[in-house]
């Protein structure tokens, strides 16, 4: 029999808070928390005192006042009598527009450049290297301002399109007008339009959705759904009999026929820009500020995406290709089934963080006068109302919201494709 004796009961001493590892982490955390709260309280107290001295306590009421400034590039209807909140909303949509456009073009250019940088052709690879180094090592703000300057200074004025022998002419088979006041592209028009749905009544966030567009998307969705059903059926047949029925002509028909019918019913036609008076009328007008921002952000971000794509492809060892070849896969399938899934795992996370950077860099719109959320809420609204604190807080909240949603998508994707190890 062994007898257990309790170790001598240690009485608690104050110094144990620091020297005893059981308590130390708690002590550190409590001290950190207290320090943080003290600093935060001090800052907030200062702010409130300062605001009281200035006579403008925190108040978001200004958002309901008339904005009385115009936003020339916009997706939704807006005029200068509407509220600051409406203006900010229009600005937020403009941010999203340039972010989405920029991400798409940056991805296309970036993948193209990244793949060509790996080309066996020395000259092509070097040209792409020069592109990447030039765009990566010069600030994006400079590219934006330079693109704006080039557009304004070097493109023909609308009056150059006039007369018997115009100095300039429309590009792309007389459909696109590239002028120093912006680019006019054809717009989609529907003669038997279904009209719009008005969301959110008469509030500042009211939103019109074109039913024509909804109809197009519904038909497209249905077509794709049936194509997938068809593919599943083809696969079943293939597994049962070993023969895969030809489906591509049916697929094409399913995709095109309903869509063409719908467009004919809606009376789809294009509205082309034409010179009326001093300016072009008709078509969609993309202003220089939008084009400059879009162009500069895409080219700049594309240089980073190119490096990511290159790194991703290099990260997959050549043995993978050889092994897939040994299994009897054809080159197309090797790329689709073996290389791409692995390369994408490496490529996607940094790619998304570059999309995030592009979105945040779109705030530089303010340098060329594109009215995004920074230009409206953080620019004119802030200067007019003098509500710096409220405006900057809202601005930060908007960007945080965008960033966090993109991060959430990224985490979801990462979780889905993560390698499951032991």
């Amino acid at each position: 029999m062994t007898t257990l004796t309790d170790p001598p009961k240690e009485s608690f001493r104050l110094s144990m808070l620091i020297y005893d590892t059981r308590y130390r982490s708690l002590t550190i955390q409590v001290v950190a928390m207290m320090g943080f709260m003290l600093v935060a309280a001090w800052l907030i107290n200062n702010t409130l005192t300062n605001l009281a001295t200035l006579g403008k306590p925190i108040d978001f009421g200004f958002l309901g006042d008339p904005a009385s400034y115009d936003i020339n590039q916009r997706l939704l209807e807006y005029d200068s009598r509407e509220t600051h909140l409406r203006a900010s909303f229009i600005g937020l949509l403009n941010t999203l527009v340039v972010a989405v456009l920029g991400c798409i073009t940056a991805t296309i250019i970036g993948v193209f450049v990244g793949v060509l940088r790996l080309s066996k052709n020395w000259l092509v690879a070097k040209i792409m290297t020069v592109y990447v180094e030039i765009f990566r090592n010069v600030p994006v703000l400079l590219w934006i301002v330079l693109a704006m300057a080039i557009l304004i200074e070097s493109l023909p004025a609308p009056k150059a399109f006039r007369g018997e022998n115009p100095e300039a002419s429309l590009s792309f088979f007389d459909t696109v007008a590239v002028t120093n006041r912006g680019v006019y592209i054809p717009e989609a028009l529907f003669s038997n339009s279904l009209g719009n749905i008005h969301l959110f009544g008469a509030s500042s966030l009211r939103f019109d959705i074109s039913l024509d567009l909804v109809a197009i998307f519904v038909v497209l969705g249905l077509s794709i759904f049936s194509i997938r059903k068809l593919a599943a059926r083809a696969k079943r047949i293939q597994e049962a009999t070993g023969d895969r029925p030809k489906t591509w002509h049916i697929n094409l028909a399913i995709l095109l026929v309903p869509m063409i019918c719908l467009l004919v019913i809606l009376g789809f036609h294009l509205g082309y820009p034409s010179l009326k008076g001093f300016n072009f009328k008709g078509g969609t007008h993309m202003r220089n500020s939008l084009i400059a921002l879009w162009l500069a952000l895409s080219l700049y971000t594309a240089a980073f995406i190119a490096e990511i794509v290159r790194g991703g492809i290099l990260a997959i060892s050549y043995g993978q290709t050889e092994a897939a070849g040994a299994l009897g896969l054809r080159p197309g399938k090797i790329m689709r089934l073996v290389i791409l899934p692995q390369a994408l795992r490496v490529i996607i996370p940094p790619m998304i963080s570059n999309y995030l950077n592009l979105t945040k860099n779109s705030s530089l719109a303010i340098a060329v006068g594109y009215m995004d959320i920074t230009g409206t809420l953080g620019g004119i609204t802030m200067n007019q109302t003098g509500r710096e604190l409220e405006c900057v807080l809202m601005l930060m909240a908007c960007y945080l919201l965008i960033s966090l949603s993109i991060s959430m998508v990224m985490n979801w994707y990462n979780g889905r494709v993560a390698l499951v190890e032991r």
């Binding site: 620091i18 990566r136 400079l142 330079l146 945040k360 530089l364 340098a367 920074t374």
Partner: protein
């Protein structure tokens, strides 16, 4: 029986490889004309290069240097080469380059900026090329953080000395208290005492000494700062301060202490979620609101603070990547040697984690240096702001390529050398196989 007429008994001499597979021709065949697709690509690329060079080279080299306005420039061009516009007008750079580099810094004091730049290079040498630099240069590095601001802003030498004295006080407190009161208290004292000194005593002490023995150089206001100098100044401050703060944030984010971790994660994600421009708005409009009534400190200092915080959050993420990439065995090995947390970090973990994250750290540096141009949006006259001012000037209204090419060249040189240095460092520190 031998019907064989000839048997070779010595080796044939090696033949030279076919001329088409070695040397210049072989290289060309392999890299440029290895198949019809490759040949087409080569020809297209050559056409592209020809197109670019035939535009750029005459533009750069057949150019006008001696002109004081764009109109004068165009007249000279018309006289010399006929009515083409394919020629650069470097007159704007010749006339304004000093302004683009130094902003509105007083001309007779340019030597101070130049001296500060030389000091910067000297102070960086031991940091960048540790084993090749003479040891004495470490002294320059040590006094640099105090000397550089004094050179640029000027004013009384005593203020700078008093601030430097704070560091001495901290060091003394540590050395004197460590044997008496134990390491923890001495560390706390060495952090608290200098802060008390800086906040309450240094200013009046400097005032008193300055009244007795005035020594100083001409003061330069912050609004006179500008140009590329401002980018370098902001870049150095943000880069220099963000690395240590970033390391601390990364360690906090990796730690087991829940509250510390939450605070660090919150800070990092917040800063990374908003664009730098909103933080600069905070610097220019709001930072004074957050401080006690009547506080009004320098705009450049405010911008430096916000840029440092911004860079630190990104740096923290890069270093966290390095920490996460270390095998767990390194942590366990450090523990089994009996090292405490800070010793393990200093001797085992950080040297490896930082080495892994060099590419990320340097690209963060490059990013933050490029981002210094954003201060032009809050009204500081950095290069881009000055370019706007020059383009608004009647003499140079309508010029853009020349100006922006010059500015882009400045940034390219600095950023490109940084990225090359990081490659050199990676090679130097590469201890694997």
């Amino acid at each position: 029986m031998s019907d064989q007429a000839f048997v070779r008994i010595e080796m044939l001499p090696e033949k030279k490889p076919p001329a088409s597979t070695v040397g210049m021709i072989g290289w060309l065949r392999e890299n440029l004309f290895s198949g019809w697709l490759n040949t087409v690509l080569t020809i297209i690329s050559m056409g592209f290069i020809w197109y670019i060079l035939s535009g750029v080279l005459p533009w750069v080299f057949q150019s006008v240097w001696n002109a004081n306005s764009l109109n004068e420039c165009r007249e000279i061009m018309n006289e010399t080469w006929g009515s083409t516009h394919g020629h650069a007008c470097w007159g704007v750079v010749r006339e304004r380059w000093l302004q683009l580099l130094y902003g509105f810094y007083p001309e007779n004091l340019y030597w101070r900026v130049n001296l500060a730049l030389v000091l910067t290079l000297l102070a960086l040498t031991p940091l960048l090329f540790a084993e090749r630099a003479p040891r004495q240069l470490w002294y320059v590095t040590a006094v640099y953080p105090f000397l550089m601001p004094w050179l640029l802003w000027g004013g009384s030498i005593w203020g700078t000395l008093m601030i430097a004295a704070g560091v001495g006080i901290g060091y003394l407190a540590f050395r004197l208290l460590a044997p008496i009161a134990g390491s923890l208290i001495s560390v706390i004292a060495s952090a608290v005492l200098p802060i008390i000194w800086w906040m309450f005593l240094a200013g009046s002490a400097a005032g008193v000494v300055d009244a007795v023995l005035p020594m100083g150089i001409e003061t330069v206001e912050s609004r006179q700062f500008g140009g590329f100098m401002l980018a370098i100044l902001l870049g150095i401050a943000a880069i220099g301060c963000s690395l240590p703060i970033g390391i601390i944030l990364a360690l906090g984010r990796q730690s087991d202490l829940f509250i510390v971790k939450t605070l660090c994660v919150g800070f990092i994600e917040f800063i990374r979620g908003v664009p730098l421009i909103t933080l600069l708005f905070v610097a220019s409009l709001l930072l004074n609101l957050f401080l006690p009534v009547g506080t009004n400190f320098d705009i450049i200092l405010r911008v430096m603070i916000m840029m440092t915080l911004f860079a630190a959050a990104y740096m923290a993420e890069v270093i966290r990547g390095g920490l996460a990439a270390l095998p767990k065995g390194q942590y366990e090995g450090a523990d089994s040697l009996g090292l405490n947390y800070w010793q393990a970090q200093r001797l085992i973990i950080m040297p490896q984690a930082l080495k892994i994250s060099i590419p990320g750290i340097v690209s963060t540096f490059i990013g933050i240096f490029k981002d210094t141009t954003l201060v032009s949006i809050i009204g500081l006259f950095d290069v881009i702001g000055l370019a706007g001012a020059i383009r608004a000037d009647t003499a140079w209204n309508g010029i853009y390529w020349e100006l922006f090419a010059f500015i882009a060249f400045l940034f390219f040189v600095v950023c490109f050398s940084m990225s090359r240095y990081s490659m050199y460092l990676e090679r130097k520190l590469h201890t694997g196989h």
